[in-house]
Symmetry: C2
Subunit: 239 residues, 2 copies
Amino acid sequence: MLKSKISCQQCALKSFCLPIGLSDSETQQLNAIIKRGQPLNKGDILYQKGQKLNGIYAVISGSFKTYIEDQQQRHIIGYHLPGELLALDAISSQYYSCTAEALETSTFCELPFDQLSALTAKIPMLQNRVFTLLSKEISSITGKQRVITKINANEALAYFLIDISHRYAQRGFSANDFFLTLSRGELGSYLGLAEETVSRIFSSFQKQGLIKITRRHIEILDMPALKEIIVHIALNQPD
Amino acid sequence: MLKSKISCQQCALKSFCLPIGLSDSETQQLNAIIKRGQPLNKGDILYQKGQKLNGIYAVISGSFKTYIEDQQQRHIIGYHLPGELLALDAISSQYYSCTAEALETSTFCELPFDQLSALTAKIPMLQNRVFTLLSKEISSITGKQRVITKINANEALAYFLIDISHRYAQRGFSANDFFLTLSRGELGSYLGLAEETVSRIFSSFQKQGLIKITRRHIEILDMPALKEIIVHIALNQPD
DNA sequence: CGTAGCTTTGAAGATTTTCAACCTTAGTGG
DNA sequence: CCACTAAGGTTGAAAATCTTCAAAGCTACG
């Protein structure tokens, strides 16, 4: 029992199964359907757009980007950190709607969706947990959308930094010192900005003493000032 | 039984309960928890940001906008047509994260979420239906985000028109002739454009013979050409 | 018939992108 | 161990796009 609980934690599913107070037996049932994946290297594909849904994924360590591509370019849709879930949008169509790729050496686990939903049908608390997770995803995308939908480039980047900082803090990582695994170009694509614009604004933030940035290593020096940049934006503040 | 089935249809929950083949008894159970709301007039508030979650809502007829506001302005977040659901993002926090307002005389029904989740725990098919609806919402917001995140104003408006057209068609309304209940300013806010930009682009689409627009009445004259505008954008095409 | 609110249009200004060149760093092979 | 290379990052200047400001047109409604 204890073993499975620990293993669940190791699976970085803390965020998934712990906060809801499942019994040991329930935890074990959940744990039984979780498949631990082989570690992936940078550039390895977790799933490909168009493939039939196997399950949803949780990032254990490392980071992933999701994207779709057309003839001209690749559009970054998501940036996923440890403890976060991937492929929640694929449940409805049963096909992955984008490609997920490891941005660095990363580990993950898989939750086969049919097994998960069989289990949620038996454990109401778990069902509610899944509802909550899906709903939270909706909030978070809506929040991002709000921000990117016409606020200017400064604000978009300030928001991005604050968001990442929160997400790291939530998982127990440093809120003020972290590595970005997206390139300037990818980040630009994610936020709807040109790569040069991202670079210029990072430089300007640094000149103002808000951050220190060395390639992909970011230190947030003045969080209040960063927040000041987006203070006039009506936001659903992240928890 | 039959009565309740019809009533369910009347509730415009066709989209919600019909496609999954519930038994008559299950349909009746679902129907029993659906509360029909009083019709609202233009400007009436369905729910207010910050209020405790009562339930999620389905639009029966008319249309709703959702928004959040700050000192300076109101930001339109959503535009909801008959058959569509509102407040899916409030399930996780248990508080409405934006305000929903009727854009014209509208009817709706309410699904108290605690009762719904008690029912889904008993009816696996319904549980999966809710998972699917939540997941679909994630897809659709992600799609919108993709589009607005830096494509230009022409593309954003072409996408919007195509999206609305699809959504009306899906509910059995005309795909090529409909009324917009958002003003130019509101639509601009929704898409992240200035109201004048929206107006200019509608004029330009009309000059090109793509649409005919008389105030809020829109006729789509050349759907293929509209689609051509966004053809280079990698999209998860709506079903 | 007049007014208020929405819409359209023009012109100037701001922001962002694009194009181009150059810089920096990490990794490679001599 | 060093020099070279490729990839990513930075910076400047011109061009494109969108916003803002301003004014005027239209329509619905009392």
